[in-house]
């Protein structure tokens, strides 16, 4: 059990998807204007990343590897992720049309989020078991959401801060992101993975 805890801590904090692996940077800069929308998108990413990693693991070990089709991995994973997002959307629409309507209007599309693809590939490369892969993807997504929410909070504060004109907007946001990455480096050494 401790092995799984360390795996999750490592995925969420030490090797954070955004600040250590530099995946999902476009949404990191693009959807962090408000804490609420960053958290909402984070929840969607947690769901999609976990389900996609689960499906990708199954495809890798029950289809690609037995039939020697590893070279198709990237293409197949893209299709699996797109299908997972589409399935999620269809299911939410069936489960609750008002929820679907609301989430469809306000949460950005995440079909092509590189963090989702990156984690799916990392999971397969790490040669983890099914439950370890699922937990790794879940923790990676939680780390992604954590950073998104923290950064959105910082950006909300920056809006009311006195920033020199030359640094206002993206420059100060990038400097803040750099400082946040430095802060997360403090977690290094917590986990072996």
């Amino acid at each position: 059990m401790q092995e799984y805890v360390m795996l999750m801590v490592g995925a969420a904090l030490v090797n954070n998807v955004i600040l250590a692996r530099f995946l999902g940077l476009c949404s990191f800069m693009g959807v962090t204007n408000r804490v609420d929308s960053a958290f909402g998108m984070g929840l969607a990413v947690i769901f999609v990343m976990t389900v996609s990693a689960m499906l990708d693991w199954s495809v890798q070990y029950y289809l690609l590897q037995p039939f020697g089709l590893d070279y198709l991995r990237t293409v197949i994973f893209i299709i699996v992720i797109a299908a997972a997002v589409q399935f999620t959307e269809m299911t939410v629409r069936k489960v609750s049309p008002p929820l679907f309507q609301m989430l469809g209007i306000y949460l950005p599309l995440i079909t092509v989020n590189c963090a989702v693809m990156g984690v799916a590939l990392l999971v397969v490369d790490a040669k983890l078991g099914f439950i370890a892969s699922t937990l790794f993807a879940f923790a990676s997504a939680v780390g992604y959401t954590l950073v998104m929410v923290i950064f959105a909070g910082l950006r909300e504060r920056l809006l009311v801060a006195e920033v020199p004109p030359i640094f206002s907007g993206p420059p100060i946001a990038l400097i803040t992101a750099g400082l946040l990455a430095l802060a997360f480096m403090g977690f290094a050494g917590l986990s072996a993975k």
Binding site: S96, L109, L135
Partner: protein, 169 residues
């Protein structure tokens, strides 16, 4: 009207009026891209998802006189959006993980764990459906009209000429 959005903690989004009849406007949302390069598809960002927008159309009752083709800003309360995201994503995810972990601890074989996770996911969607019916009514979380949108709001990095040329492509 901007003041209204600030005051009530509304999250804003862009939508285009598709039809108007008896004070009820049917709107098509302009989904944001997750890259944030632009605020909406109106500035010329086209995606393979565009053809699915028709499925996302919604009705809006408003006292404003809206015209077909007009772009408007609509809003919902931030806490409603978070509650909706929690119901739609967190509940199924929690049951899926619970099913998977419990089966892994008891049986320990990957194929069975996979099946149990899928079972947990299905149960989670059932609970989410029940929770959504219990917590939300369509009227309560329906988007509200805030104001008419300006072109430069949709795509701050492009001029009006560039936006129009994108639309004409």
């Amino acid at each position: 009207m901007d003041y209204l959005a600030e005051e009530e903690g509304l999250i804003e989004a862009f939508a285009r009026v598709v039809s108007v009849a008896d004070g009820v406007a049917v709107l098509e949302p302009e989904p944001k891209t997750s890259c944030g390069g632009c605020n909406s598809l109106a500035c010329g960002t086209h995606s393979a998802m565009s053809n699915r927008l028709a499925a996302r159309r919604f009705s809006l009752v408003t006292a404003e006189t809206l015209a077909v083709g007009e772009r408007v800003v609509v809003g919902v309360r931030a806490r409603d959006l978070i509650k909706a995201a929690l119901v739609a994503y967190a509940i199924p995810l929690a049951t899926m993980l619970a099913g998977g972990i419990a089966t892994h601890v008891i049986i320990g074989r990957d194929p069975v764990t996979l099946m149990a996770s899928i079972g947990g996911l299905v149960i989670g969607f059932g609970i989410a459906s029940w929770s959504a019916d219990y917590l939300f009514s369509a009227e309560k979380i329906a988007p509200r009209f805030i104001r008419r949108a300006k072109d430069e709001e949709a795509c701050p990095n492009k001029s009006t000429e560039e936006i129009n040329s994108c639309r004409n492509m």
